[in-house]
Amino acid sequence: MSQIRIIARRELTAYFTTPLAFVFIAIFVALTGAFTFYIGHFFDRNQASLDTFFQYLPWLYLMLVPAVAMRLWAEERKSGTIEQLLTLPITTTDAVLGKFLAAWLFCGIALAMTFPLWLTVNVLGSPDNGVILIGYVGAFLMAGAFLSIGICMSALTRNQIIAFIAGAVVCFLFTLSGLDLVLNFFRPWAPLALIDVIASMSFLTRFEALSRGVIELRDLVFFLSLMAFWLFATVMAVDARKAA
């Protein structure tokens, strides 16, 4: 456990020693603002809620979270530090979890930086802050799920750009799998059970419920087990492709 913490601390510091962290957070906050106020017509709706913020968040994550994850393993492999890291007395699982937690915490910090939006709705009206809190929890979980996919893609290549694109594509499929756009492709031929499975994988559907303040155990289990699955795959990928 202490090994995981040491690695996570190093990774988190690594985000902040370069301007990357600040650029990322600035862009993230600016874009959430733009989506919420302009594209989401926050003021015209005349509602004291963060619905428009949460509505666009998955699409923003689709672009930005794979960017946070892309360097985690690809960079280690490219610079050769993976050899340094994995000859320390730690397991591959320690290293994967440490990196993941650092990236997740980083996404959490970025998410927390959107607090002015929350202040705004509280100044303008009296929103249900419980709903907003659950929305934030959902957003944090979704960031973790996107990250776990991204870190796995990063473990498969030494090229950060490929890691980014592959991560974004897989995240895109998971995001959309509940929409008719995807489901109509399966409906004419696939058995109903399979369609249900595909539909149940959708981040959008899960997150929509959370952002409306409906917290259900199965949604939490969904996000957590999805992370566990992708992190397990990451450990496998790192072990299998260490020398490549």
Binding site: Q3, I6, I7, R10, T13, A14, T17, T18, S79, G80, T81, E83, Q84, L86, T87, L88, P89, I90, T91, K242, A243
Partner: protein, 322 residues
């Protein structure tokens, strides 16, 4: 427990390609093993397996009585490992990098500054401790790599090309350091520089195409050369033909090779039969026959020749060209 590292029929295949093929060797405390071989011979792969980075396809290695296959963490704990090119996190400062390594290695927080101080003193890192690693010169980076390998004072040290890319002064410094530590530890270094083997290694293992080709002291390797104990005689070219005929008659001389030199001189290189010592006999013959030799010296071949002979298997390749 004087055998610290025992490599037991270690093999590694990547797909169809067999990079390391049943390599066995052992290193005792106090030994510095020079690990030699042409590029691609499997040196780095072997070291990566001993240090627990790669898992072997078959066979195993035991380090301080721990098996790298069944208990890699214990093995990693007892090894200080410097990978080839000593990669490190470039955006960290030297001090924070060493602190990171020390904490992962389980060194108590209060103890870390003292360890870093000792190492920075020994490796001359004091002036760069607060600088990011990416701005350091190659020599400093390599010494940072050495420092991270030594920070937990490991009983076993594995260094992949520790002096590669260093200037002569830095090489000297690194070799001295290895020499100073040798008595206390079991050390494996891989290198291409054969003078280094003579300077610091107590034993040498040569591998080629994944197999151990030779295992012994530097002298054991030299003895394999046909020109071991050979003698060269330099004399005016005019006298060379006669002298060659006379010297070829000597009972201990196996062959005479003539090489033209500048200023109308010729070198005759005499190789011995069965590796006997020739110098005395040649000296006498030169005096007795009044051969006008300007130089007579031992010319028994170098480790480079032995290396070439062992790794290419060709005796011709080992004959002095120039």
């Amino acid at each position: 427990m004087s055998v610290m590292v025992e490599v037991d029929r270690l093999s590694k295949s990547f797909g169809d390609f067999c990079a390391v093929n049943e390599v066995s060797l052992s290193v005792r405390k106090g030994e510095v093993l020079g690990f030699l071989g042409p590029n691609g011979a499997g040196k780095t792969t072997t070291m990566r397996m001993i240090s627990g980075f790669l898992s072997p396809t078959s066979g195993t290695a035991r380090v301080c009585d721990n098996d790298v296959v069944t208990d890699p963490i214990a093995v990693k704990r007892s090894i200080g490992y410097m990978p080839e090119g000593s990669p490190s996190y470039d955006d960290m400062t030297v001090a924070s990098f060493l602190t990171f390594i020390a904490s992962v290695r389980g060194i108590a927080k209060s103890e870390i500054p003292r360890r870093i101080a000792i190492l920075s003193d020994r490796l001359d890192l004091g002036s760069v401790l607060e600088r990011p690693i990416e701005v350091l010169s190659k020599g400093y980076k390599r010494r940072v790599g050495m420092a991270q390998a030594l920070i937990h004072d490991p009983p076993v040290l594995i260094l992949d090309e520790p002096t590669d890319g260093l200037d002569p002064n830095q090489k000297y410094q690194v070799r001295n350091l290895i020499g100073e530590m040798a008595a206390e530890k079991a050390i494996i270094i891989s290198t291409h520089v054969l003078e280094e083997v003579e300077a610091i290694c107590t034993r040498t293992v040569i591998i080629g195409q994944g197999r151990v080709l030779a295992d012994g002291t530097a002298n054991d390797l030299l003895r394999r050369l046909p020109e071991y104990h050979a003698v060269s005689v330099v004399l005016p070219t005019l006298a060379a033909a006669t002298a060659a005929t006379v010297l070829r008659q000597l009972p201990s001389v196996a062959a005479v090779f003539e090489t033209p030199l500048p200023e109308d001189r010729t070198r005759l290189r005499l190789t011995p039969r069965n590796g006997v010592v020739l110098l005395d006999e040649v000296n006498k013959a030169v005096r007795f026959n009044a051969i006008p030799a300007s130089e007579i010296y031992l010319d028994g071949g170098t480790l480079d020749d032995a290396f070439r002979l062992i790794t290419t298997g060709s005796a011709n390749a080992a004959i002095h060209a120039a």
